[in-house]
Structure formats: structure tokens, C-alpha cells
């Protein structure tokens, strides 16, 4: 018997079923639901982070060898920043818990991972949240080229991929200060082609990377300046990327960078690279070629219209194949668990900092996914084996045993939980085991620790 679309959609494309959500029953409705995942109303903005960063730099400078009051002011500023970051992280969980399907918030996660940036200092932690708000959320149903431009030119990315240290060797700045160390840094240019657009197997050369790196000079982040482009850092002259020449005439500008991104974003290789990544993330670690071909075709036909891609994914007959061959990543596991337990986003928002650490961030790190800190710019692994390590599974079991009763006033009946979160999809072994648990606590733990629940 085929599964009802809403169960298939919620489990494969969303964060799973929940006792209260109201999932669209057809692909078009599901694709439309993504528009609810736009930027947060009063989210942290880039300008704010810039301002806070500047204030923080000044406070830290004063605190060094400063008075007790100055040191206190510095500490209290940092504390405020950490509190803001906690709130922002809770929002990420809360929106995913509240999203009726979870498809929109899964896409937020997917694209934030495609354009990986990491935090680090408290300001760059905040910046990494602003990145999601500024570069990812506004473009979930827009053009890929626009998302790519927003991502590549965002301070979080500029800093993460070392663009802030790339200076044209013949730029005004280099000529004015010849003793200052610096020069080209190819990191961003390389990842723009290799990871973010065409993919490592595509037909481009080292020369393309070098030329792109020269073209990108001028992009930088400085909290004292409210622009990301400084012409005086830019290498003069034309640069040729993939056979197209940019920036030959006049002053270097952000316009040239937009133009090259526009070109990269609409390459055939990019269509195929993005199609494959979406198929791998949402459908299977080894997706069928037919699916990749179809998604790539949609990408090409629409010049990278992500709304069309979302719909194509929702309409894929492959949703039914390879059911539960993917593992839920730790973030997904935690969100899916809280949804299944009937928690609301408001309850998640209300978690105290200690609870955020104990129930979400620490477990997530032990499961292998420390918040905003993947190993490299290629983001989180997709392979199920990587998430099914003994210590990862031990942590999932441990979480399932202890956290639900701390998070909830009352645990659900495990049989209701089973029905609410697995619908018609529970395997025989799980259906058999749950009523045999000795207590509610263990029954709830078994549902959430089951392979059924941990896969999608």
C-alpha cells in the first residue's frame, strides 16, 4: 500500500510527523509551504552585528590594562552577545519544530550547509546566524544566482574562506603599503567553483580559479565599514573566468563580481551539481540518475529557479524509493523528537540557556554535529554510516531516555507517540516492541531511539 503523500513528505522532506501539524496533501501545496521560511521579522541584521563587533572591539581595547569598570563593561557586552546567540539558536530549533511540514526549514538547513560558514568568536557566531537570515532565507524560492551572490559576498563567508585577507598585488592598497604582508588568497574563489557551483569534477582549470581570485579582490569585511567592497584592495585589469572577461573597463566594482557569479550559477555543470546535492540530501546517498537528470533539467530550464526545484523534488516518484535509507542528522533528530513529543516552538524558545546546552547543543555535538562547526567548507557528511557511530547512537538513546521528561510536563503514552510520529510507517519490530516497554519513560525512549525514527 503506498504511503499517503503527507507522511512521505513529512518524513522524507521535512522533520517528520507530529501530533498537531497540518501537512499539505499534494506536492504543489508542499512546495508553496516553503515561503513560510523567509527571514525572521526582527532577526539579527548584519548592520547590528557590525555595530556590536565595533563596540566590542572598543570595549576590549579599553579593558586591556583598564579599570575594573571597563573590564566589567567588556564582560557584560560579551554576555549580552552570547544571550543573543542563544536566542537565535533557539529560534532555529523553534521554527523547525513549528513548521507544518518542515520542508522549508529543511531547505534552510540544506542551503546553509551548501554555503557552509562557521562561527568561532561570539561575533562570528552571530554573523553566521545573520548569514542564514540575509543570504539563505530570502532566496529559498528565488533564483539560485541571487542566493549565491548573497552568500559569497556576505561577511560571514568572506571571513570563513579568507577573502578578508586577499589583496590585489597591484591594488592601490598594496602599492601604498608595500611592506604590509598580503596578496591573493584563492580560498573563496576555489570553493565558489568547486563546492558552491560547478562541482569538483567539472571542466574548469586552475587558471579560472586564479582569475576569479583576482576578480574577487576588493571583497572584505571590516566592522568599521558598512560595505563589503573596497576598490582600493582590488586588483586592476580584466580577468577571464570560463572564457568570459570581466572588469576590463574602468574601476573595479561589485557589479563585475555579480556578473561572474551570475555566469557560474547558470552553468550546465552547476545545474547538475545542485541537482545531485539535493537528490543526495533528500532522497538517497546514492540517488538514481533519472532523478538527477530531471532535477538538472528543471534547473537549466528555469535558470536556477529554486521554487521550481522545490516542486520538482516534491513531485519526485523517487520519494517512495529508498525510504529510510538516509539517517536523520543530529539537528533533525532533535527537532523531529521535539515535534513528535508535541512541543511547540514557543516552548523551545522558552528554554533556559542551561537547558539549551544540556538538551540540544551538547547532545548534538556528541552525536557528531557541533553547532555551526563542521569540519570544513564541504559541510556535514551525507553518508548514513557517518551518523550511525556507536557513540552517536549511544547519545541518541541517552537523549531519548532522559531529555523528554525534562522538557515536558508529562510524557505521552508511547503508543500514541508511535502513531503520531511514525504514522503508517512503523516497522513490525517497532510496533511489536513499544507496547512491551516497562514504563512510559522507556516506551518513549524506544520510539525515539528506534531505527525507524532515526532514518528518513
Amino acid at each position: 500500500m503506498p504511503l499517503p503523500f503527507e507522511q512521505l513528505a513529512a518524513i522524507r522532506l521535512g522533520f517528520g510527523l507530529s501530533p498537531q501539524n497540518n501537512i499539505p496533501t499534494d506536492p504543489a501545496g508542499l512546495a508553496r509551504s516553503v515561503s513560510a521560511s523567509g527571514p525572521e521579522q526582527d532577526s539579527i541584521t548584519l548592520d547590528q552585528v557590525r555595530q556590536w563587533h565595533r563596540e566590542g572591539q572598543l570595549l576590549s581595547r579599553d579593558a586591556r590594562n583598564g579599570t575594573k569598570d571597563q573590564q566589567k563593561a567588556d564582560r557584560s557586552h560579551r554576555q549580552n552577545m552570547r544571550a543573543l546567540f542563544n536566542t537565535a539558536v533557539l529560534r532555529r530549533f523553534a521554527r523547525a519544530v513549528d513548521d507544518p511540514t518542515g520542508f522549508g526549514e529543511r531547505l534552510v538547513w540544506f542551503w546553509s550547509d551548501h554555503f557552509t560558514v562557521s562561527g568561532g568568536s561570539v561575533y562570528f557566531n552571530l554573523m553566521s546566524d545573520a548569514f542564514v537570515q540575509d543570504a539563505i532565507r530570502p532566496h529559498l524560492t528565488g533564483r539560485f544566482a541571487d542566493m549565491m551572490f548573497a552568500a559569497e559576498t556576505h561577511p560571514a563567508m568572506l571571513r570563513y574562506l579568507d577573502q578578508t585577507s586577499s589583496i590585489g598585488p597591484n591594488s592601490v592598497l598594496a602599492r601604498q603599503k608595500p611592506d604590509k604582508p598580503g596578496g591573493l588568497n584563492e580560498n573563496l574563489a576555489r570553493e565558489m567553483i568547486e563546492l558552491h557551483s560547478m562541482g569538483v569534477g567539472a571542466e574548469y582549470t586552475q587558471a579560472d580559479v586564479e582569475q576569479l581570485a583576482r576578480l574577487l579582490t576588493g571583497l572584505t569585511y571590516n566592522p568599521r565599514q558598512n560595505t563589503v567592497f573596497r576598490a582600493r584592495r582590488a586588483e586592476p585589469g580584466a580577468d577571464t573566468v570560463l572564457g568570459e572577461s570581466y572588469g576590463g573597463d574602468g574601476k573595479a566594482s561589485l557589479g563585475d563580481i555579480r556578473a561572474v557569479i551570475e555566469n557560474l550559477a547558470t552553468q550546465d555543470a552547476t545545474a547538475r551539481h545542485i541537482a545531485r546535492k539535493m537528490a543526495v540530501h533528500f532522497i538517497s546517498d546514492t540517488p538514481p540518475d533519472a532523478l538527477i537528470d530531471r532535477l538538472a533539467q528543471v534547473f537549466r530550464d528555469t535558470d536556477g529557479d529554486l521554487a521550481a526545484m522545490n516542486l520538482a523534488l516534491a513531485e519526485s516518484p523517487e520519494l517512495e524509493q529508498g525510504f529510510r535509507t538516509k539517517m536523520r542528522q543530529p539537528f533533525e533528530f532533535l527537532v523531529a523528537s521535539m515535534r513528535s513529543l508535541g512541543m511547540t516552538g514557543a516552548q523551545v524558545d522558552g528554554l533556559k540557556p542551561a537547558a539549551l546546552r544540556r538538551h540540544l547543543l551538547e547532545p548534538m555535538a556528541i552525536m557528531g554535529q557541533p553547532w555551526a562547526a563542521p569540519d570544513g567548507p564541504d559541510g556535514w557528511s551525507e553518508a548514513a554510516e557517518d551518523w550511525a557511530s556507536p557513540q552517536g547512537i549511544a547519545m541518541r538513546i541517552n537523549w531519548a531516555m532522559t531529555s523528554p521528561s525534562d522538557l515536558l510536563a508529562e510524557l505521552p503514552d508511547p503508543r500514541n507517540l508511535l502513531r503520531d510520529c511514525l504514522g503508517d510507517t512503523a516497522s513490525e519490530a517497532v510496533t511489536w516492541a513499544i507496547p512491551r516497554a516497562e514504563s512510559r519513560t522507556e516506551g518513549v525512549a524506544l520510539v525515539l531511539a528506534s531505527a525507524d525514527f532515526n532514518r528518513r
Binding site: P390, D406, E438
Partner: protein, 391 residues
């Protein structure tokens, strides 16, 4: 993907978070005027009463039990020439001899037939009859009794731990306490997990080591404090009962012995005996006014199954102990184990509603009116005649 360094760090972190995490079982406390004390222990998972109190004088027992419940010739201690005490409970023999321990061999709640742990425990703690839908059982009988007690203060009740005690939930205020002990995944839960993971190669492969990591947490990060959870619960309960608290309740898991019952039941009965003896020791003179009732959601099949265990049944046993108890006696009748004696042809026939014992104890020791007991506290209960459980 995980480096060895991260693995070690992670393992250590699990250890730490387990120290902070609450427990499987729970305790609940209430204070009340007077000197009488009531402790209710919920045995989650359905204790096999036939094995705990072995009716070796019943000629049908040997046919039903091939490797279990073999009577005084196999380590059990004779009690009265008909019943013998399971070796796991042998530490309680002095209490039996001193007239401070008794048991009812064939009791049950009004719950019948579906034999679900969750429903059975709900009904046991809610104290209701079959007329109320299980989902509507939102408060427990100890709480309703509190509401009926004159002079009960706002400082009265504790409800503790991961396993929320429905028995003390309700309108009367309750406080909670979680002992600083460690997490325990019951062997039943481990078995069910292994079964669920069996068909999934990734999970099957990882699960053995994963369960080792989880069970490694059970010893706790602090080797100087190896105190077991049930002892912690009993210590804390006794400490409170020595002050203003008069009613305490907690639960112990691990009684669902579908296979290998000989080992696991002995271990759990030993824990129960330790718990009772810890209460006695720490209560000191207050033990004289204390009644401990150990209740379980239902009994187990009269016949041993193919895995040297027993399955979910109906009639079960209740154990009572304390200085306030008229001990050294078997309470109520024995239904027999003949084919036609059994409930549904498989389970021990319950002869009395377990709530009647609780109601009589509350009537005798806390002066609760019988109409209240048969009305709002235990809806539709017929208390029947006094079982003379208390001294």
C-alpha cells in the same frame, strides 16, 4: 568522521550529562498530621507473584513451572507450609518472623484482558475503575487522599524523577526531588532495542557498542559514590518521613521478565528487599508506625513460557511491610492453579481488588471516611470486609 579525540571527549561528556540527568524511577512524598506513615512502591513491569511467593503446596504448580518457582527444595524459604519465599527476598525473613511483613497472593486492579503495562500502571496509580476512559485518568489516588486529609499543609508532597508519579498528581500540591544518581536502561529496554535494531545493519552493528557506552553510564562518573538508586530513594524517603512527611511514593522498574526470569527476578527482588530494609534502618523508631505497600500493575502467566520466563497475566501479589503491619500472615484466599481455576485459562485468578487494601490502610491510619474512599478516592470500589492487614 569522528576523531578519536572527539570520541573520548564525547564519551566523557555523556558521563557528565548522565550525572546530571534524572532517573528512571521516581519518588513522591507528602506530609500530613499524625504519626502514621505510608510508603507506596510501584513495581513497574508486572512482578511475578507466583515466583515471589511460591505456592509450592499447590499440586498444580509443578506442571506449570518447570524451571521457576521450585519451592523450598530449590532455595526458597518456607513460610507457612504452603507458600515459600523467593531467595531474592530471603533477607526479609526476619521481618516475616517478627510479624512485620505480609502478602496478598492474588489481587489486581479492575484492569482486565489487554494486559498493557501503560494502561495497567495508569489504572493502578489513578485508582479508578473501568468506567473512566484511560486517557481521562489525570490524577492519582494518593493525591485525592491528600485532598481529603484535614490539616494537610502546602509543604506536603514531593514528586520526583523522570518517571512522573501519576499516583501523586492532582490538585493537592506536591514537591519533587531527584536523587543525584545515574541513569539505568533496564535489561528489558536493552532487549527491545536489540530486537528493533536487528533488521537494520547499520544500527545492529553499532548497537552493541552503543549499549555498552550507555550502560557504562550506569556506574556513574564518581566511583566513590556507587550508591544504587533504590537505596538513594529509600534513604531520602526515610529522611523526609522522619520529619514532616507522612506519605511517600516511588517506583522501581525491571519486573517484566519474559525470559531468563530466574536471574532478573532474583536481582530485582533483592533490590526490593534492600529498599525495605533501608527504610526500616533509617526510620528507626518511626518504622513502628510505618506501612509499606509494594504494588504492581498485574501478575504474570501461571505457566512458564518457552524462554524460562513468564508473560503478562492478571492476578498478582502485593507485599506489605512495616512496624504497623500485622505480619507473618497470608492475606486473602488462594484461587488455585488448576485449569479451571485460572483466569482466561492462563492467568492467576484475582480474588480481591488491590485498592481495597489501600483503602483500608487509609481508613485505619489516616482516618479517611469510607464513603470518600469508595466514592472520590477509589471510584466504585467496594471495600468489603477489613482484611486486618494492620496491627
Amino acid at each position: 568522521m569522528l576523531t578519536r579525540r572527539l570520541f573520548l571527549k564525547s564519551t566523557a561528556l555523556i558521563g557528565c550529562s548522565a550525572a546530571a540527568s534524572p532517573l528512571m524511577s521516581s519518588a513522591a512524598f507528602a506530609s500530613a498530621p499524625g504519626e502514621n506513615r505510608l510508603v507506596v512502591i510501584i513495581l513497574r513491569g508486572a512482578m511475578d507473584g507466583i515466583d515471589a511467593f511460591q505456592p509450592y503446596g499447590d499440586r498444580n504448580l509443578a506442571d506449570l513451572r518447570k524451571t521457576l518457582s521450585l519451592g523450598p527444595d530449590h532455595g526458597a524459604t518456607d513460610l507457612d507450609g504452603f507458600f515459600a519465599l523467593h531467595p531474592g527476598l530471603s533477607d526479609l525473613m526476619p521481618l516475616w518472623q517478627a510479624g512485620q511483613m505480609a502478602f496478598a497472593p492474588a489481587v489486581s486492579t479492575p484492569y482486565r484482558d489487554k494486559r498493557s503495562h501503560f494502561d495497567g500502571q495508569n489504572m493502578l496509580e489513578a485508582g479508578t475503575g473501568t468506567d473512566l476512559h484511560l486517557d481521562d485518568q489525570q490524577d492519582g489516588w494518593l493525591n485525592r487522599m491528600l485532598q481529603a486529609m484535614p490539616g494537610q499543609t502546602s509543604e506536603t508532597a514531593y514528586s520526583v524523577g523522570v518517571e512522573k508519579m501519576l499516583i501523586l498528581q492532582g490538585a493537592a500540591k506536591a514537591k519533587s526531588w531527584t536523587p543525584d544518581a545515574t541513569l539505568a536502561l533496564s535489561s528489558q529496554a536493552e532487549r527491545l532495542l536489540m530486537r528493533m535494531y536487528h533488521d537494520d545493519p547499520l544500527f545492529r552493528e553499532a548497537s552493541e557498542q552503543a549499549l555498552e557506552i550507555v550502560s557504562g553510564l550506569q556506574t556513574g562518573p564518581d566511583p566513590d559514590k556507587p550508591q544504587e538508586e533504590h537505596i538513594e530513594l529509600a534513604r531520602f524517603a526515610a529522611d523526609r518521613l522522619n520529619r514532616d512527611t507522612r506519605i511517600a511514593s516511588f517506583s522501581m522498574a525491571g519486573w517484566d521478565t519474559h525470559s531468563g526470569q530466574a536471574g532478573s527476578l532474583k536481582r530485582n527482588l533483592g533490590r526490593l528487599a534492600d529498599t525495605i530494609l533501608t527504610l526500616k534502618q533509617d526510620l528507626g523508631r518511626n518504622w513502628d508506625t510505618t506501612t509499606v505497600m509494594a504494588m504492581t500493575e498485574f501478575g504474570r502467566t501461571a505457566r512458564e513460557n518457552g524462554a524460562a520466563g513468564t508473560d503478562h497475566g492478571t492476578g498478582g501479589a502485593m507485599l506489605v511491610a512495616g512496624g504497623a503491619v500485622r505480619g507473618g500472615q497470608v492475606m486473602g484466599e488462594w484461587p488455585g492453579l488448576g485449569e479451571s481455576d485460572l483466569y482466561d485459562g492462563r492467568d492467576l485468578m484475582p480474588l480481591r481488588d488491590i485498592r481495597a487494601y489501600a483503602a483500608w490502610a487509609m481508613h485505619a491510619k489516616f482516618g479517611i471516611d469510607k464513603t470518600l474512599l469508595e466514592g472520590s478516592i477509589f471510584p466504585d470500589l467496594d471495600m468489603g470486609s477489613d482484611p486486618r492487614m494492620l496491627a
